[in-house]
């Protein structure tokens, strides 16, 4: 399938959202709101829940399925306070020794006046640095769009997985084509060279696992993908919980340390 067709599936308004997975995979989810600083950003949801027998912290970038929902969720484009809420919940998880599971689905961090005034760059940067050191197991799953720094701000984790039809990229194919070829209409071509599909990124070792979807996308059989993901999460959290802290952190450091291609 051409990469751009996957972009279209990843962006489908009918595609299951973070809350769909949270409600299906976990029990006793209690949503916790706010960054304790400015406001509650509805583009990010988070809280505590049970994954089988393990209490965990779950966080997700939430898109809407209707126009009204999308306006309330800012189309899944978080403000700085969204990333700060996520960090607050992750530090809380660390305090109580809970593993953290993040669901990523954003075209990118929001670009606006308030976002700049309140330090969008600083908020993302702080998450990258703090997540590198969280003393609990962490897993992130790209369930739709993984857009640039706004996605990475939740994805500095021990494991990064992608659903089969999700994409993860430095920029949208449209933006990429505009920058390099001055022509956003060449987005399809851009999608091909950018290596943004789950398959490509597995090959590049950017992600460890690809979760299967039904033909045409997971909206066609949500239960199939969600159950598959649930099983893999339970299994992986049990593996990560067994690691001693130094090993966990050293492996996380090495996971990101290895990226880059150069000669000397």
């Amino acid at each position: 399938m051409p990469a751009y067709d996957k972009v279209k599936i990843a962006r489908k308004v009918t595609r299951p959202t973070a809350l769909d997975y949270i409600n299906h995979i976990f029990e006793d989810f209690i949503e916790l709101h706010g960054d304790r600083n400015f406001r509650d950003d509805a583009a990010i949801v988070g809280g505590i829940a049970m994954l089988e027998d393990t209490p965990v912290t779950v966080i997700g970038v939430q898109k809407g399925k209707t126009m009204e929902e999308n306006i309330a969720r800012n189309f899944g484009q978080p403000h700085p306070e969204g990333y700060r809420k996520a960090l607050r919940l992750m530090k809380q998880a660390e305090k109580f020794g809970r593993p953290i599971i993040n669901f990523i689905n954003t075209s990118g961090a929001y670009c606006g006046v308030g976002a700049e005034e309140r330090g969008q760059g600083e908020a993302i940067a702080k998450n990258l640095m703090e997540m590198a050191n969280l003393k609990v197991p962490t897993i992130s799953i790209v369930i739709g769009e993984g857009g640039s720094g706004g996605a990475l701000a939740l994805a500095v984790t021990d494991r990064v997985w992608m659903l089969e039809n999700s994409v993860y990229a430095v920029l949208s194919p449209e933006g990429f084509a505009s920058i390099l070829w001055k022509d956003p209409k060449r987005a399809k071509e851009a999608a091909d060279v950018m290596k943004i599909t789950a398959e490509d990124l597995l090959e590049l070792n950017i992600v460890e696992k690809v979760i299967k979807e039904a033909d045409g996308g997971c909206q066609n059989d949500f239960g199939f993908t969600a159950n598959l993901l649930r099983g893999k999460l339970i299994n992986e959290i049990n593996i990560l919980k067994e690691k001693d802290l130094d090993t966990l952190l050293a492996e996380r450091y090495e996971r990101f340390r290895k990226f880059g291609e150069f000669t000397e």
């Binding site: 126009m67 961090a109 670009c111 606006g112 006046v113 976002a115 700049e116 005034e117 309140r118 330090g119 969008q120 760059g121 600083e122 993302i124 940067a125 702080k126 990258l128 640095m129 703090e130 590198a132 050191n133 640039s148 720094g149 990475l152 701000a153 994805a155 500095v156 993860y168 990229a169 430095v170 920029l171 449209e174 933006g175 990429f176 505009s178 920058i179 390099l180 001055k182 956003p184 060279v193 950018m194 290596k195 943004i196 990124l201 590049l204 950017i206 996380r252 450091y253 990101f256 340390r257 990226f259 880059g260 291609e261 150069f262 000669t263 000397e264």
Partner: protein, 309 residues
């Protein structure tokens, strides 16, 4: 239903215009050949004499020599951009800079068409291998690790080499219990390296976390322009964040935001002064004072002079 349709049409229009804004903003950060040629034509018409330059701020024609050591316009005090070599010369003690990883060069992780050629031609033009110089030095006699980005090389974009060299600089500083100073200037991620470029943000930030956990000092100096993925990673992670006056600092491009809100933004938006006001910069320091201020900061963190007990 009708209401919903027109509402939806409005939203679609917003998202299209939003995208258009992004495209324009991107265009603005990457000067097209056309623009460059136009600028050249303009220069020709004005006949800028040999050894002179037009100030982009006050538009006076100035003798290059008159900009001096610090590259400041003598008519309007505009700070011209400095390359890494010039920056190092004005900040660190004479002959103290020992460069790390001199020969590191980028590969082409995505096999992106023409990328290797572009890198090669810039290497010849700039005599840099990539967009950052790293090394150790002394400032006011006090030893530190330093990384200086160079906007003359693909707009200081963050690719594998920049990410690796800065990461190694942090690791060197951590191993040797040294402070590190990073001068940032960057248009953001290096598009030609795609996702590998994005991963550099995480890589450097993780190295920065280890350095911080060791109780060591990290100072960033934001210089024009510091944007995108560099702002959203190590630029904003300093224990102390300094900036030069009027430096452009931001996450998103101005035109992207103007496209979203459909309003012109005030001139001071995303300047160092704007960030100071909003609490994201510790202090704005005049260029000619940076070396003294950095030396004092090192002193205040008990960094001893070479040979001092």
């Amino acid at each position: 239903m009708k209401f919903f349709k027109s509402f939806k049409a409005g939203i679609d229009k917003i998202s299209v215009e939003n995208l258009k804004g992004k495209v324009d903003a991107i265009k603005e950060t990457v000067p097209s050949k056309e623009k460059e040629e136009k600028a050249k034509d303009k220069d020709k018409k004005e006949e800028i004499p040999e050894g002179h330059i037009k100030c982009p701020s006050c538009e006076n024609i100035i003798e290059k020599k008159a900009l001096g050591h610090y590259k400041i316009c003598p008519k309007c005090a505009k700070l011209f951009r400095m390359n890494a070599k010039e920056r190092i010369r004005t900040v660190v003690d004479k002959d103290s800079f020992e460069e790390f990883d001199v020969n590191m060069e980028s590969k082409n992780p995505l096999n992106f068409p023409d990328y290797s050629e572009k890198v090669k031609s810039l290497q010849e033009k700039t005599s840099l291998k990539d967009a950052v110089k790293t090394g150790k030095c002394t400032i006011g006699g006090r030893p530190c690790v330093i990384a200086v980005m160079d906007s003359g090389f693909m707009m200081g974009s963050l690719g594998s080499v920049v990410g690796e060299k800065i990461t190694r600089a942090f690791e060197y500083a951590t191993r040797n219990k040294m402070p590190i100073i990073v001068f940032t200037c960057s248009g953001g991620a290096r598009m030609q390296e795609g996702i590998v470029s994005l991963m550099q943000m995480a890589k450097v930030s993780a190295a920065c976390a280890k350095h911080s956990d060791a109780g060591l000092l990290y100072v960033t100096v934001l210089t024009d322009p510091t944007t995108g993925g560099v702002t959203a990673s190590y630029a904003m992670l300093g224990d102390i964040i300094l900036a030069e006056p009027k430096t452009l600092i931001g996450f998103a491009g101005r035109r992207v935001i103007e496209g979203t809100i459909k309003q012109k933004l005030p001139d001071e938006f995303q300047t160092a002064e704007f960030l100071l006001e909003h609490g994201f910069v510790d202090a704005i320091i005049e260029r000619e004072n940076l070396s003294y201020v950095l030396s004092d900061i090192l002193k205040l963190h008990n960094v001893k002079k070479v040979g001092e007990n």
